[in-house]
Amino acid sequence: MTEPGPSPEAFAERRLKRRHAAERRFKLYGQLAIGIAIGFLAILLFSIASKSVSAFSRHMLVLTIDQPDLSTRSDLAVTDLNLAVRDELVEAFPEIANDRTARIDLFGLTTRLAVLPLTKSAAEDPDLFQAPIEARFAVSDDLDLYLKNEFRTHRTVEVGRAGRLSDTRSGTFRVTDAGPDGFETFQRFVDDQSEPRTDILISLEGAWFELGAISGAALELEHLAGTLPPLGELGGAQIDAVVLPSVGENRKVSNRQIAYTMLLKQRGMIEKRFNQTLFTNSDSTYPELAGTAAALIGSLFTMLITALFAIPVGIFAAVYLEEFAKKSIITNIIEVNINNLAAVPSIIFGLLGAAVFLNTLGLPRSVPLVGGLVLGLLVLPTIIIASRAALQSVPPSVRDAALGLGASHSQAVFHHVLPLAAPGILTGAIIAMARALGETAPLLLIGMVAFISEVPRAPNDEATVLPVLIYKWFSGAERAWEPMTAAVIIILLTILVAMNLVAVLLRRRFERRL
């Protein structure tokens, strides 16, 4: 005899439990899937937005340019203004007039081309330099990044009172402790610093030093910036130490430049402002001077050409297929063809543009005219499909009534059906334009990656567009390009969201009427 199995009721109950557990698991998978998708969207938007924040502000060097002799010159070049800027900087730090390496460090705070905006305003206003003027110059991208990221993690500690300052070699000094403990507390603090050792800057009477070592109850210091206090007894002046978050060799900004920056910040000569050049400047090889103006206008021209070509042609094609065409082989081929064309990879349209527009027709490279046409062909199927759906949704009674009253076929369509389908068509057109605005790959193939430093004036000027600018800045080597790229992405996404909102509002508003 076999052992008695579990009773049928218990068996059924177990089975039911298992089935219910499977049901709950299945539902959980669905929730998990939606969670993953939305989570990714959130991470994407958050990571890009947080990267972009720092690019919307920028540190500027504020200098008062007092050089009336500049106004007598009619052909001010970048070099002249650069020299003027350097003069003013040296005036701010008169002690380094003869120190070449220190001067190079100081002048490295801005790039040569930072004076370009001033050159432009000087060209417009010849009397600009008659009176002293306050001018702002973008600090170099590395310094800007340092100020935004690492500068905030500086820690200031009190060291003690200065006793006697003496020089050991040229540029190297010793200072003894005026207090009783001979910098022992500070010594312990330095020893407690976690590895790897970081650089420590010492401020004494408005001058900045780099800490070499602590030996024999005295600090060994290397002078960096600021006017040296007189050698000898300092009478217990305050010594402060700033612990930098990194070692000098590992960053692009030298310790001396940090010392200058701190002095300039104390004097109010470095300030943080909204980065308006991001919108007013064109592309540049220096991240701190680059802006999106040329790409914005280039995108505008390209979209203009795309809209002028694709929207009318798309609507008319839809009208033909929906209202005029009889079922025939040709219309069938056109239909299948449009559906397939909508799924062709966008890069193929780039190949088409390169082979037909550039090579065969000999149109110029890198111009919005060609870019707009290529994108127009790309979104044409989308517009046709959306327009056909909109035309289909117009009740046939409208058509029949118009025809019954004696309207011709085209009168019925253009006077009665098309206006009723217009909101739907417009919505489709806007969504298609949004797609064209974000398209990159086909434009790379027709040369819209050229370096464009001037705002294009017409659709046949060389230009670039926002998505291509994203790609180009992304490829830039300097670290400062990353926040800049993220900022352009935010600008592009804002425009796209605005376009889609318009489309949604249009749909909402006109849905009620039909």
């Binding site: 698991r25 899937a33 033909y320 064309l341 799924a343 062709v344 046709i384 085209s410 790959a441």
Partner: protein, 472 residues
């Protein structure tokens, strides 16, 4: 006089009179027919409204004139150049067509900008001759347009009568114009196919180009510097990244669609569906940036962590800064809404009685979905996956930014790998001279890409269509 004529902006010289003539013809035609239709009852006896007669006459004037003008636009330049070349001295034409072309281009440039004489006698004489020829061609073109317009007007005017069916002719013209618009889609396809086919044939016939078998089955790709055109590593990379993308997109997309269509409340659906579709609206270059700056470093760290584990060899994974996995993951996220919205459609198209029947038999919801709905919707779901694969194969910016450019055949997903689209962009960006095998190889790759995606699309669209017919 002919010379100055050559410099005037031809566009406005023709378009403005053409528009004026069109307006004149319209009002004239309307006037004429209205004059014919005087009297209390006559207007009812007109076949078409006076406006249509006006339109007819305007079209009869403008169309022939525009046709002649188009002919001028297409052929005048060639005519002028050829006549100039035929007049050039022999020692110049003997230097070969490229030199001659270069010379004529410079002459045309000079003439267009009316620049000062250079002092080179032959060149200056050519410039002058070019201007004269150009002026003559323009004069001929404009006179031709004028005569064609006048002739059209004259013939059209004679047609006008009370019984003339002007409206039908206008209808015909409108229909023709609409048809041309619809045919542009066909022309686009033809343009794509022709350009890809021609350039591909050229690629295989170039002296430094490969043979077809070498291209399709060779495993050594080095188009940038050398002349190795074995595209198998590219096909492999493309498929590998597409596969990784599908591993993400298919489960997530499918389960989202099932949850949204079978489980969620309408309110939840109304909120979540648009959010999912946002994923489809984000430009691919943004995904590329996301993949390269956030995901790729994560993948690399993960690979290094795996390598550092005690029981794995230190060189198990390549741990490259750009990797197939980063590109594939992000591409999968991009494709999620694609699969979820298409699957959502097909799941919703499954008839309600099938659901009710299954539930009435005592099936739980998940059993109903797994055993009834999914089998019924399977063809549609497969079509959605096919469309998504073709999308993944053709995706460009994500792989350009996050996948790297090394032509490798490796199963290691953390290694950088190259794809067909990456190579097309790399080969055609920058200066494109259409005579090197390097450039033209991009078209051969494009041809393969186009063929494969087209095949997938056709199969998928067929399946969708047949499926729709089965339940409608």
């Amino acid at each position: 006089m002919l010379q100055t004529f050559g410099y005037l902006p031809i566009g406005w010289l023709v378009i403005a009179p053409l528009a004026a003539a069109g307006f004149f013809a319209f009002y004239f035609g309307r006037q004429q027919i209205a004059a014919l239709a005087v009297g209390p009852t006559l207007s009812a006896r007109l076949n078409s409204q006076p406006n249509f007669h006006g339109y007819f006459l305007a079209l009869a004037t403008v169309l022939p004139a525009s046709f002649v003008f188009l002919l001028y636009l297409f052929f005048a330049d060639g005519y002028v150049r050829n006549s100039l070349i035929s007049e050039l001295p022999n020692y110049l034409t003997a230097r070969g067509p490229e030199q001659v072309d270069f010379f004529v281009n410079r002459v045309a440039d000079y003439a267009r900008n009316a620049q000062a004489a250079t002092g080179n006698l032959l060149f200056d004489a050519s410039v002058e001759r070019y201007s004269i020829l150009n002026g003559t061609a323009r004069l001929l073109g404009m006179l031709g347009a004028l005569f064609a317009g006048a002739g059209g007007f004259w013939i059209g005017r004679r047609q006008l009568s009370r019984s003339f069916p002007a409206r039908s002719y206008i209808e015909l013209c409108i229909k023709a114009a609409l048809f041309i618009c619809a045919a542009i889609a066909i022309l686009t396809t033809a343009g794509i196919v022709l350009s890809l086919v021609f350039e591909t044939i050229r690629f295989f016939s170039l002296p430094d180009g490969p043979s077809v078998t070498e291209f399709l089955f060779g495993t050594d790709w080095n188009a940038q510097t050398g002349a190795n055109f074995g595209a198998v590593p590219l096909f492999f990379g493309t498929l590998m990244i597409a596969l990784l993308a599908m591993l993400v997109a298919v489960p997530v997309g499918l389960f989202s669609a099932i949850y949204l269509s079978e489980y969620s409340s309408p309110r939840f659906r109304a909120w979540v569906k648009p959010i999912l579709e946002l994923l489809a609206g984000i430009p691919t270059v943004v995904y590329g940036f996301f993949a390269a700056t956030l995901i790729a470093p994560l993948v690399r760290n993960f690979a290094q962590w795996v390598n550092a584990l005690p029981f794995t060899p230190d060189t198990l994974l390549a741990a490259q800064p750009t990797s197939a996995l980063a590109a594939g993951l992000v591409m999968g996220v991009m494709i999620i809404p694609f699969i979820s919205s298409l699957s959502d459609d097909v799941i919703n198209a499954v008839p309600q009685p099938l659901r009710d029947g299954a539930l009435a038999m005592g099936a739980t919801k998940s059993e109903m979905i797994k055993q009834v709905i999914l089998p019924a919707a399977l063809p549609g779901i497969i079509a959605a996956i096919l469309l998504a694969v073709s999308r993944a194969i053709g995706e460009t910016m994500i792989v350009v930014m996050a996948a790297g450019g090394r032509a490798l055949i490796t199963l290691d997903p953390t290694s950088d790998i190259t794809t067909v689209t990456y190579q097309i962009v790399a080969l055609l960006t920058g200066d494109t001279a259409f005579d090197s095998a390097r450039t033209v190889s991009a078209f051969a790759l494009g041809f393969v890409l186009f063929g494969v995606t087209l095949l997938f699309n056709i199969i998928a669209l067929r399946v969708v269509q047949r499926y729709r017919e089965a339940y409608d």
